[in-house]
């Protein structure tokens, strides 16, 4: 017989009104089990359900609902015979009804009244929903309490109990990630610790926790607390993960902790520990926190004795001398002068290791290696520049200097200045400020050339005393260039720049230009060091109230004080109100904004002050302050504020900047940006559209994100010229290092750029944008990308600051060079114990074509009316000799081509083929392999990182398996001789296949490069 089902809860509800208590109880418990079915009926009778006391409610919302029949309920709950259990049961029932009605607040407050009857382990929608609600509620109460610094937050103990029950359940069930998430959200560090220590894979959970705390903990203070806890847990572990600890310590700004760890590792007998210490140091350097790194280095003990020729085993000796030389080169420490015979081998190795680590921490080792990598792998396409140069009108100075900018960006950090050398005549057309930027461009090209930077720039630098030697513009530019070369690593050059600044007095002709350059240079070199003396020097310049020098001084002060939130900001603000010069105000506004970099809530008062100012320029600075203080946090409050200004401010400049600032706030979540600014990108106001384009460019830089490209595409053909300019630049930033195989739109974009540049009728503004875009697209010899986050998800302070100042180019073109600060090389560089680059192969488990360099451009045909079939040339020349030879070749090809023009495509392609040194066409014919062997050091673009595998039977094993950056390698066969692929000596001849560029590079370096990072001879281009 089919079971009979009740069709209505009416009977049970009626029973509730019975006077006998046991009848009520019976009715309640039955209703409770049938509530899922009959809640609509029960909901109409909620008022008659006997209830808990009102003081037990969290909110009073339900009172309105029950107003219909309050007396009924009152009379029942005051019934003393209504015992505790019954009340709880009633509360649970009402809670369920409210849950079905969608009134979660009420439901929760009644569920709390239900006490232990509310079973967290029950697997029903009701329980899940309410638990989520309870946790949300609890978390918001806790965080509100924390924000108002109210220790005695009156949290409902029952609420707390539920959350704790839930946490305990998660931990016992092994759902540690959930438990950690809840604990962090609810600010229960005790529970967090418990969850971590009780988890089965502590390392995994810890790293998960670090990720979570970076991406989801919004308040800086609280994040620090979490990290401090993590460090504590880490240190308790038997085998601590030093890499992660040091990252945490860096965020907490506790150099002592890092020092003690490093020391411990260095003192160890084991060579692997030393490798680990080096790896830690490299990882710290990657985050570009200069002040912190200097602190760590200063805290490290100075090696008492220096390694000398010891009579230890032969390989050890070699190593130590090699290291000593290396140190001497990098650090300038007189390492090999020691004739002292060291007796204690332990001390020797310790001292030697100390020297190495100091070299790494100062950033010199990594900079030098990067420089070598960029030089040897330079793939920039001179033909693009040539095309630009030819198509740009001679008299158009904007496009002329844009070409110079593009060249600098294209060759950033490669030390290749072939283009400039070949076109000295053309270059000499740059006068005044164009000359300033042309000289400064050398700084970008030679970026990181720390040892020879000064001698490189020597011919242009102001000669002490004998003024009038060079033009003040090139002198100023040279000072700026020195700053760019030494950006964020200005130990060695600071003093020189200071002296130059001081010695430039009012008597000197065009003194303000030199001061401008010196201020910028000094700011760059002393980035974030908060050096009081330098600050005072710059302040003196500011107080001369000269517009040109003052602007640079304002920015420079900001650079100096980046992220310190010092009270100097008040001083700067006061002067900004005082001065008459808009330029100075603008410089100061940006400077003030820079001082609050990354301070999040701490900056709120200052931001408030700036955004409420009468002066639009200061409000504009306020937007930057918002952008930088909350950079990369995706903080909702900041976004809301920015969006508000973006639509409501009266000044176009402020609106543009507000939208642009969104890019900075959101760069940690690039997927979000296109969605958020998509409406703004269709605004009627061109300034807002421009801002939207740059916002996408900044936050999605180097990602090649499809939505970003789709958003920018229509903007590149906007009706307003400067919007086109912004969109082109932004597009280039997004597409940097993406090749056509990845996204076909890259090819389209390249062709569009070419078209704009060649088009005679195009506006100068968009033409300039196109020229810059071609530069950015091939940044750093196609081996650099724009990266604002390090691999460990820390902000790269230099990069962010660089982009922020770069976005000022709207007002002042020379600031374009700041973009070079945001470039970081995309390479995997494996290092052995001696910090040399051994030959070592690893696997990229993807089709080579996905990540290969873009094909070199074709020679534009002179008679451009008909699209002629063109030959593919290998034009990636690196040395000037090579380039010269190529010029001859090209002529030849041109001749050939005119002959071949009529013959059709196939024949001309063949011709091209025969010219090829490395024949890609032939490779194409056969099916493409699904993997590729890369040789250390190799270009690994960000998208490629997930395909990188290390070979199992390799001689070298990485200390940490990172897909890019500097990786220390453990040598499993230390007795075999090592083959080095990047050395200071002419490398390519030594190692037969030095790098992925095969024969070509070999021949190139054999022909031209004798001593690689030698300063090229200076050239003059005085007009």
């Amino acid at each position: 017989m089919a079971a009979t089902m009740v069709s209505s809860a009416g009977g049970l509800l009626a029973m509730l009104n019975e006077s006998h208590p046991s009848l009520k109880l019976h009715a309640l418990s039955n209703l409770n089990s049938f509530v899922d079915q009959f809640w609509p009926e029960i909901s109409t009778s909620v008022p008659i359900i006997p209830l808990v006391r009102e003081s037990d409610f969290l909110s009073d919302g339900e009172m309105e609902l029950n107003d219909g029949n309050p007396c009924n309920r009152e009379s029942l709950y005051e019934d003393e015979e209504f015992d505790q259990h019954q009340r709880q049961l009633a509360a649970l029932l009402v809670s369920k009804v409210f849950y079905y009605l969608g009134e979660l607040n009420d439901s929760l407050s009644y569920a709390l009244g239900a006490g232990s009857l509310f079973d967290v382990s029950d697997d029903s929608d009701y329980v899940h929903t309410l638990l989520a609600k309870a946790i949300d509620e609890y978390a918001s109460i806790k965080s509100k309490a924390a924000e108002s610094n109210d220790e005695a937050a009156n949290v409902d103990p029952r609420l707390e109990a539920i959350v704790e029950r839930m946490l305990d359940k998660c931990i016992t069930d092994g759902k540690y990630q959930q438990a950690m998430g809840i604990a962090i959200e609810c600010r229960r560090l005790d529970k967090l610790e418990e969850a971590i220590t009780r988890s089965d894979n502590i390392h995994g959970t810890l790293s998960y926790c670090i990720n979570v705390s970076h991406s989801f903990v919004n308040r800086r203070e609280y994040r620090r607390e979490v990290l401090r806890l993590l460090v504590k847990v880490y240190q308790k572990l038997p085998s601590p993960d030093y890499l992660s600890i040091c990252q945490c310590l860096m965020f907490l700004d506790e150099p002592e902790g890092v020092v003690s760890i490093l020391e411990k590792l260095l003192r160890s007998e084991n060579k692997d520990d030393a490798l680990l210490a080096f790896q830690v140091a490299f990882d710290l350097v990657e985050n570009e926190h200069q002040a912190f790194l200097l602190n760590v280095r200063d805290h490290l003990p100075v090696p008492k004795s220096l390694p000398s020729e010891s009579t230890e085993s032969a390989p050890a000796q070699n190593e130590s001398t090699a290291a000593a030389e290396d140190v001497q080169m990098t650090d300038g420490t007189p390492a090999s002068n020691a004739n002292v015979r060291e007796t204690d081998p332990k001390e020797v190795s310790y001292a030697e290791r100390l020297n190495k680590i100091r070299g790494i921490l100062s950033g010199e080792t990594s900079i030098q290696l990067t420089l070598q990598f960029l030089y040897s792998h330079n793939k920039s396409d001179l033909l693009i520049l040539k095309t630009i140069k030819q198509s740009v009108e001679m008299r158009n100075s904007v496009c002329h200097s844009a070409t110079i900018y593009a060249n600098a960006i294209m060759h950033a950090g490669t030390t290749v200045d072939t283009f400039l050398r070949e076109n000295l005549d053309w270059l000499s057309r740059a006068t005044n400020w164009a000359k300033f930027s042309a000289t400064a461009g050398l700084g970008v090209i030679h970026r990181g050339h720390l040892q020879q930077g000064r001698s490189l720039m020597a011919p242009y630098l102001p000669q002490g005393g004998s003024a009038g030697g060079g033009s003040p513009y090139s002198e100023g530019g040279a000072l700026y260039a020195l700053g760019l070369i030494h950006a964020n690593h200005g130990e060695g050059i600071k003093q020189f720049l200071r002296d130059s600044l001081r010695s430039t007095t009012v008597e000197v002709l065009n003194f303000q230009v030199i001061q401008h350059g010196a201020c910028l240079g000094l700011g760059l070199a002393a980035l974030g060091t908060a050096d009081e003396d330098i600050y005072d020097d710059i302040k003196n310049v500011l107080y001369t109230d000269n517009a040109v020098a003052g602007e640079a001084a304002g920015i420079s002060m900001g650079l100096l004080m980046v992220g310190t939130a010092s009270e100097k900001a008040g001083e700067m603000l006061a002067y900004a109100h005082e001065t008459q010069h808009e330029k100075i105000i603008r410089g100061l506004a940006l400077g003030i904004a820079l001082t609050v970099y990354g301070r999040e809530e701490e900056a709120d008062t200052l931001i408030e002050q700036m955004t409420r100012d009468q002066d639009p320029i200061l409000r504009y600075g306020g937007m930057y302050a918002l952008a930088l203080a909350y950079s990369g946090t995706a903080n909702n409050k900041a976004i809301r504020q920015l969006l508000h200004f973006a639509v409501s401010d009266v000044s176009d400049d402020v609106r543009r900047t507000a939208v642009l600032a969104l890019g900075f706030v959101l760069y940690s979540e690039p997927e979000q940006t296109p969605r958020i600014v998509s409406l703004l990108s269709e605004s009627y106001n061109p300034h807002v559209r421009y801002g939207a384009a740059l916002a996408v460019g900044i936050s999605c830089a180097g990602t090649g994100l499809s939505e970003a490209i789709s958003l920018l595409e229509p903007l590149t053909s906007d009706v307003v010229d400067f919007v086109r300019q912004g969109a082109l630049i932004a597009m280039a930033m997004v597409m940097v290092q993406i090749n056509e195989a990845n996204d076909s739109r890259v090819g389209t974009f390249r062709r569009q750029l070419e078209k704009i540049i060649l088009d005679k009728h195009e506006d100068t503004m968009s033409k300039m944008g196109a020229i810059l875009a071609s530069g950015i697209l091939d940044a750093g010899g196609r081996n650099m990308t724009i990266k604002l986050l390090s691999k460990t998800k820390h902000d790269k302070i230099t990069a962010v600051v660089g982009l922020a100042v770069f976005s000022q180019f709207w007002y002042w073109y020379p600031l374009i060079y700041f973009i070079s600060l945001s470039f970081s090389p995309t390479a995997l560089i494996g290092l052995n114990y001696d910090l040399k680059v051994p030959k070592f192969e690893f696997l990229s488990h993807a089709k080579p074509s996905l990540f290969e360099y873009p094909k070199p451009t074709t020679v534009p045909t002179a008679t451009s009316a008909v699209k002629l079939p063109t030959a593919v040339l290998s034009t990636s020349a690196k040395a000037k000799a090579r380039a010269k030879k190529e010029a001859e070749q090209k002529e030849k090809v041109n001749n050939e081509k005119t002959e071949a023009a009529g013959k059709g495509k196939s024949s001309s392609e063949k011709e091209g083929d025969s010219m090829q040194v490395d024949t890609p066409q032939e490779k194409k014919a056969e099916p493409e392999p699904s993997f590729e062997l890369l040789t250390n050091p190799a270009r690994v673009v960000p998208a490629q990182e997930k395909f990188i595998r290390f070979l199992e039977d390799s001689r070298y094993v990485p200390v940490k398996s990172a897909p890019s950056g500097f990786v220390l390698l453990r040598d499993l066969r230390p007795n075999e001789p090592e083959v080095l692929s990047l050395t200071d000596a002419p490398s390519s001849t030594q190692s037969p296949a030095g790098g992925s560029t095969t024969g070509q590079q070999g021949s190139a370096s054999a022909m031209a490069v004798d001593e690689e990072p030698q300063p090229p001879a200076p050239f003059e281009y005085t007009s």
Partner: protein, 267 residues
Amino acid sequence: MDPKLTEVSQLFERFKAAITRKDYDSCTELLSHLKVLLTSFRSLPPLFENTPNSIHELTLARDIYEHAVLLSVKIEDQDAFERDFFQLKPYYTDAGSRLPPSPNEYMILGLNLLRLLVQNRIAEFHTELELLSSTALENPCIKHAVELEQSFMEGAYNRVLSAKQNVPNETYGYFMDLLAKTVRDEIAGCSEKAYDYLSLKDARQMLLYTSDKELLQYIEEEHPEWETKNGSVFFQKAKESVPCKEIPSLQLINQTLSYARELERIV
């Protein structure tokens, strides 16, 4: 036989005896005891578990509740009636297919309809009506209630009052008395809206009273806001008390302005 069942049966016999004795106090007490005992049977609603004695238990429980309903009419307790009726209802609707039909079913359903009519809960009245089968509608008890409702709706109040004479069951008398009052309330409500004032004579006729004294007493008890002077009843006061609604102009203006402001901001 199950000892518990026996206990209930015995108690029920005592309860029935008490009813015939008209000892209503002990009836109520016994009934409450019975109900508590019934909760321990798992075959009863809402669980409806299949136990060997389920049919017997269900029948007994239904009997008990039917008596409880009748008792509530006798002691003139409308709330108790409602409670007991709702508890009885599942035996008719859900368990109806398993039990032999009860002779009292239609009588009790009709009583309930009448109660709803008395309490002027017309919506619920029709809901109940819809749930009944066509054969049930033919039953004189039900038919009576339906006809009453029709007269009530038509406004044929005299027919309602005269229907008291031909009730199908003597238990209906209590509700029929109450119905008269419901009808008067209805009339009073309509007159209030329809007239500014009425002479006492007209009012008496309208409210179906036989004497002025009864009328005045009714006015005093139910409608103290009515005014009686110069041999007339004035309804003015009641009308005045209804406040006239204002147009929320300020709120509307504010809203419109804010829309305009938002529109301006659209980018």
